[in-house]
Amino acid sequence: MTLAQSGMPAAMGGATLGHYLLVSAILFCLGLIGFLTRRNLIIMFLCTELMFQAAGLALIAFGRFHMSFTGQTFVIFVLTVAAAEAAMALALVVLLFRRRESLDAEAWQDMKG
């Protein structure tokens, strides 16, 4: 069942490239809506992770379609960035929470210029 043995670009679980791209686009837009609507800082970052997932799915689908493995290599990089982002963002969120005792993004409204 390895890729090399099947050797067929057309067979992506029976679905075409468009199927995967559609799922990826819907996932990305749900993440975007979540980022815009939620007011909880942690959930906002969770929604950026949703968008990372969508990007990874599109990368791997394209990589499979073009039989290029750079797509998968790039997803490793996306995972790295997501991990780094989670570490930094969560440290910041804890810091902000300790200062205002609230996770509301609008508690920091006075920072806008």
């Binding site: 057309a10 749900l30 809506i33 815009l36 799915l57 791997i60 290029s68 991990a83 969120v93």
Partner: protein, 315 residues
Amino acid sequence: MGQFIQPFLMFGLCVLGGAGVLLALPRGGRSPQILGALGAGLVLGLALLALGLTAGPDHPSVYFYIFSALGLGAALRVITHPRPVYAALYFVLTVIATGGLFLLLSAEFMAFSLIIVYAGAILITYLFVIMLATQAPEEDEVEALADYDTSAREPIAATVAGFLLLALLTSFFFRGINNVQPGALAPSPTLLAEMPLKIERALESHGLLKTGERVALDDSKHAIITDAGVKISGGASGDRVVAKSDWPNDLEVTNIERVGFNLLRDHPGTIEIAGVILLMAMLGAVVLSRKQVQIDDEAKRLQALKLGDSAGGGT
């Protein structure tokens, strides 16, 4: 191959899905959330059905539908669930479903590393922080949801923006996605030649290698693979060639080996950069969390005042 999906159908589904998501967003308990979620789910089902009908002779496997429905449904719950812990757990479900889709795309290594890194590490960190940053309820009161979790910010504008983007993104279906040509797999012998030990092990386990025989190596320690087969040397009967038709099945370059070659030979800088990014993130997190915070007393008092006001029982 005709239209992937009808334009009007696609844009109509976008509008309906937007309305469903809009209803599903939390708005302080005034919105029929379940109705909205059901509507959005229904639209999703319709979209998948339409995709299935237009897929032509080779239908997508049932696993594609299961995984994408699970993943998108869970993503909808992530952005609508008023309790952060549940949202994080639903995100785990999305990650697992995406991992399943990766498996269908025969990217096994990425599927499992996604589940290990995301569901195993990143999400646990999120859960820790959610628990750190939530006040425990008092002994005799029911757990109250924070006001900022139960009401969405600008739900209409955000949903319109999101689904407008979706409609724009999906318009590529009507302009030539059918003309994109799939690529061909790079021939495996060139990669296989760099793994003489793998060849040796595979041949040995299938009894194709007599005692004392080894895969012949050229000057750069690569196996010698010609059109006839792989060259073997060192046996009692001298050099010989194992023909390609005799090769066992597991003598193929697997997906993970190709990813490894791609990562370490074609993009060696990636690993270095990733290492530097992770190191910087670690240093940043350590510096940030060591910082002593003076609680902003004035802001806290204001916040308490506001909370008291919104509860209606404050002085």
